[in-house]
Symmetry: C2
Subunit: 223 residues, 2 copies
């Protein structure tokens, strides 16, 4: 059904295509060209075509890609083959942001519950996701066959988090904690560094200013 291999780079772009297509859906057009998507998203048009091909979203010469079918193709791609369950460990502000965007379903992941140490949070719910006591975490991961844990605790809870993850035997961790965590080798980890983009932005900014006013030429080699 799908072109069987996909690069991680493509995997990052697919949600952007989907987002863009959903945004223009209310419009009157039934088809969208790869070139138009490319321009809107700042991605090379050939790359857009290659990526859409991977998820099996066929286009038509002279017309473009059918909007609805392309949306369906991308959504199906993410749902396809597996739909793991997830818990979110830490019911703070970041958990609130992630749950609020409601993209778990679209990414093909079932978010079942949140966990927190704070007894004031336990029993409440965040956009329909219940907050449970962290004492139930290990047991529930096992009993409910939860595959993914999303770590949104503060860095001070690093040690405790590694212990909980390891004991629970969960297979994969999506880590937002700004700390260097050492999990057992069997655990699949994807680290998210919220601040990584800032230094890249600063670099781009400096470059763009240098391009406009190449004045300051007193001996620093920054580009």
């Amino acid at each position: 059904m799908f072109n069987d291999s996909i690069s991680t780079a493509a995997l990052r772009r697919l949600p952007l295509y989907l987002q863009y297509l959903l945004e223009i859906r209310p419009g009157k057009h039934e088809f969208v060209s790869a070139a138009r998507m490319a321009t809107a998203l700042g991605i090379h048009h050939t790359l857009v075509r290659q990526d859409l091909d991977v998820v099996g979203a066929k286009g038509f010469p002279k017309k473009g890609h059918p909007l609805e079918e392309t949306i369906a193709a991308i959504e199906t791609y993410f749902q396809w083959n597996s739909r793991p369950s997830a818990f979110i460990l830490g019911a703070g502000n970041l958990a609130r942001v992630l749950i609020g965007y409601r993209q778990f379903d679209r990414a093909g992941v079932d978010l079942l519950a949140a966990f927190d140490q704070d007894s004031r949070k336990v029993g409440t719910s965040i956009f329909g996701i219940e907050v449970l006591s962290v004492t139930k975490f290990v047991d529930l991961v096992r009993r409910m066959h939860v595959a993914i844990v999303i770590l949104t605790l503060p860095p001070s809870a690093a040690e405790e988090s590694v212990k909980l993850i390891t004991e629970s035997g969960v297979a994969a961790v999506w880590n937002f904690m700004p700390a260097t965590l050492q999990f057992p080798d069997r655990v699949v980890v994807e680290n998210v560094n919220l601040f990584a983009g800032l230094s890249i932005l600063k670099k781009k900014l400096t470059e763009s200013l240098n391009r406009k006013e190449p004045a300051n030429e007193h001996g620093n080699g920054s580009t």
Copy 2:
């Protein structure tokens, strides 16, 4: 002073080195080897050496890299050459997370204030950062020569955000909003997609399960 060119990939790794070094600082060792950093962070050891070289952090054969000097080298690298001011547009949960991590200073950016439409938030402060009315935003960007705006408003505010950014004439946008925004060409943009990592994690998870139990062989070509 610094090796003058740096790849964006290296720029993403530097904060990880810094984080790791700060974590082990309380320990007894004065030196740390590239190999040890590499193992802890899951990065190739040669790459660690190349990256440290870029920021001018010298190492010593047989000893390794001096902990304090290496920390100082990375911090100096980010501070060096420019220290732009920033506003954060949107004083919600995500703003709270970003401000709470206190990494702006370390990244060489001065966060001056937050802005929100909600009059209940105006006048409050988030970890010492004042929340001002969004009506003052455009004027203050200009008067205070703010270079970077951090967009943490919900996607429903997409149109309004583009208007504010464009009117203010700010040079760079660090965008956390899950929406396809079209800024004037002169604006430097770095988009952060909070959910991008989830599909990559799902892919890694599927691959690791396939490796362990290559049972399910009924005709799907996923790898």
